[in-house]
Amino acid sequence: MTRAQRKAKTPKGASALSVAPSRYHTRKTAVRDALPYVALAPAFLTFVLLLGYPVLLLFLTSLQQFGLYELFNNITTWIGVDNYYNLIFNSPAGLPDFATVLFRTVVFMAVNVALTIGLGTLVALLLAKLDRWVRLTLTSAMVLAWAMPVVTGAVLFQWLFDSKLGVVNWAISSLGIFGDYLNHSWFATGLTTFAVITLLIVWQAIPFVALSLYAGILSIPKELPEAARVDGASERQIFSNITLPALRPLLMMLIFLSVIWDFKVYTQIAAMNQGGPDGQTITLSLYTQILGPSDGQFGVAAAAAVIMMLLLLVVLVPYIRRMVKSQEEQ
C-alpha cells in the first residue's frame, strides 16, 4: 500500500466527525502516537549504547596515550595524533610495520575477492547448464562447505595440509608432476600459509556467490538468450550482452560484500597459524587484536582500527546506500 492510499483511507477529518472528542480519546491517540517509539526504544538504545558509544570510544582512545599503566590507574592523557604518527613511522616492537601489514591486507583481500567472484560466476553459469541431478549434487556439496563453521574449516584445512600425514601432500606426490611433496610444510612460509587460508576462504565463499548468481540467472526471461541464439549470437556474446548486464546490480552487491568480509578476516588466519610463521600472515584485524588486548598498547591499536574502519567506509557507504534503496523499493 502506498502512502497516498493509506492517507485516503484514514482522512484527517475523522476525529472531527466523532460527536464529542472526549479527553479519553485524545489521550488514546497520544498513546497510539507514542507506541512505535516505545517499541523501538530497546533496539534504539542498544544501537546507541553498544555500537555508537564504542565507535566514539575508539576515536577517543586513538587520541590518547593508552597503555596498561593508564588502563589500571584510570589516567587519561591526550596526545593528539601521536598514536597515528608512531603507528605509521615507528613500527611497534616485535611486530611487522604498519605499511607492510596494510599492503598485505589489501593484496590478500583483492586476491580473495577476485577468486571468489570469478570462480563463483563460473560455477553459477555451470549450474545453469547442468542436468538436474548433477545440479542437485553440486548444490548440496556447496551447502556443506558453506555451512561449515569457520573455526572447523581452519582446523580441518590444517589437517588436509599437514606436512607428514596430510592428504594433500600425498595427492600431489602421487601425481608425480610436481615431485615429492611428502613432508612439505605449507605453514613454513607466509606465502604458502596465505595460499592455504585463501583456499579455505574461497572454498567457503563460492557457494554463497554462486547460488545467489544462479538465482539471478534464473530470473532472466528465457526468451532473451533464446532469441539471441536464433539470431546467431555466440554463447560468449549472450553472456556479455544479456547475462552480465542483467546480473550487474547483484554482482556489484556481491563484490562489495566480499571486499568487506575479506578485508577484515580474522578467524581463519588466527586459527590457521596465529599470524605466523614469524608474523608473516598478520593482517590488519590480527594486528589490532595483538597490539590491543594482547600487548596492552590500546592507543596505537585504536589508531590502527580507526584507519581500518575509514578504509572500510569507502566500500560500506555505497553498499549501504544500495541496500536501503532496494529495501525501500520492495
Binding site: F47, L58, L126, A141, V151, L165, Q289
Partner: protein
Amino acid sequence: MSRRTSRIVTNGLGILASLFFVFPVYWMVNTAFKSADQFQTYTPVFIPIPTLDNFIKALGEQNLAQLVRNSVFVTVSTVLLSLVVGFLAAVTLARVRFRGRASFLLLVAVAQMAPFEALLIPIFLAIRNGLPGPFGVLPIGYNQVPTLILIYFIFTLPFTIWSLRGFVAGIPVDLEEAALVDGASRFQAFMKVTLPLLAPGLVATSIFCFITAWNEYLYAYTFMADPTNYTLPVWLVSFRSNFGTDWGATMAASTLFTLPVLIFFLIVQRRMVGGLTQGAVRG
C-alpha cells in the same frame, strides 16, 4: 563439439566441482571414524573400518560438559534476546508509519555492516570492568561468560530486525484487516493470522543468530581467560594444540561441533525459500 559431448563435459565439470566442495567435509568425517593406525599412515585410507574411539576420546575431554553448557547458554540467550527486541522493532517498522522511520531503517542498515573486528578495542575497554551504574550488578566483564551474550546480541540484532521486517512486510495487511472485519481485536488478528504465517521467518532468523553466536571466535578468545569459561570454538582451536597430532580426536571434536550448525543450516535453506514463496501464493 556435438551437443552430446558438450553435455558430458559440462556434467563432468559439475561432478569435479562437487568433489572439490565435498572432499574436505568427507575427509573430516572419515578421519573422525579412523583408528590411530589408519590415520597415521603416509598412504591415506579412504574407506576406514569405523571406530568410535576418537569420539569417546574427544567427549572424555576434561570440562567438555561445562564448555558445551557455556556455548549453549550463550547461544540460546543471544537468540532469545535478539528475537524479542528485534521482533518489536521489526513489526513496528513494517506495519506503522511514523516520523523517523526511514532514518531508523538506515541506522539498522549501518549497524548491520559495523566492522566488529575494528571495534574490539573500545568494546574491550568499555566492558572489561563491568557495566556502569546500576547495571554493574550484571555479571558482565572480563572472563565472565554472560559478557558474550551482550556482545553477540549487538552482532545479531541488526540482521534480526532487517530480516524479520522483510518477513512481516511480506504478509499482506489485508489478511489482518479481514480478521478485524470478522470481529477479531487487533491483538487477536495479529496472534491468529500474522504470527503463524511469520513462523518460518522467525525460525530462519533465529537460526541465523544461532549460527553467528555458536561460531564466534575473536571476542570469545579475547574475553575468556579461564579454560572453563571458553566457548566451543575457542576450545576447538586450543584442543588442536593440546592434542598435538591426534588428528582423529580433533576431527571427531570438529564433527560434533559442526553437526548442530549443519542441521540448522539445512533447515533454513529449505524454509527460507519455502517461507518466501508460500507467502506469495497464499497472500
